[in-house]
Symmetry: C2
DNA sequence: ATAACAGTTGAACAACTATTCAACTGTTGG
DNA sequence: CCAACAGTTGAATAGTTGTTCAACTGTTAT
């Protein structure tokens, strides 16, 4: 007699049950896209900077010792994820956190890795 | 007189202040690495499956219509991030969530994108 | 011992992504 | 209007990453 994992553990039934509980495929995809935004140290650094204070692109660039172009590109990604917002004052553009949600998410991660 | 952003907004002082508040560079890097793990829809799907029930590699593969090899590769990443743990039973290896931390982090993200 | 099964692993390839560079927009002061 | 500054953008490049494939380990039943 065949002792497959399938037959031993009754896969087909369990698999069907679990499948019903899963969120929509598009939601799972969107969630991964969202977390991708946190998956880059430059963006993480920018977010941490904005935790402390709103700041213009040049200021962030100076702080992180990077070009304004590089920072601007990443700010665009952060804005796309609705994590930051911008405010223009003359030639300068100030960026700040869109909401406090971000803080919680990042603190959650920090907790996990420092265990 | 030069009306630089620098001089107008007193960058150097603010920048220095904020720099002191930032976590270690290595911590910020590790945090980004951690979030990278959530930044893939296959891994997100696997985590959601394990929310419902512990499951073997073949079961997950069947559920997600993917090869065992692909799943095994991703489980390795998840294990590396200490998000899942394994348990052997004969030829079968069962995976499950390492702790409930993961649930909170993922729910946090879901909240943000469904706003 | 050996065959069959469950899972792992490393190399290779394709797809994606972060930074750089140069050219651009928009704003302000002269 | 023009020059200078702050920031943005698109193309190009280098580095990273997910899946596939084939070969491998480890376990169990005969």
């Amino acid at each position: 007699m065949a002792e497959d994992c399938m037959k031993l553990h009754n896969h087909d039934r369990v698999v069907d049950e679990v499948r019903d509980q899963l969120p929509e495929d598009t939601d799972l995809f969107d969630l991964a896209e969202f977390y991708k935004v946190f998956g880059d140290s430059t963006r993480i650094k920018i977010l941490y900077v904005l935790f402390e204070s709103e700041m213009c692109v040049g200021g962030i660039a100076q702080l992180l010792s990077m070009t304004m172009s590089a920072i601007s590109h990443q700010l665009r990604v952060l804005k796309g994820a609705r994590l930051v917002k911008q405010r223009r004052e003359g030639k300068t553009v100030f960026y700040s956190l869109a909401d406090d949600h971000v803080r919680t998410i990042i603190e959650m991660g920090m907790e996990h890795i420092s265990e």
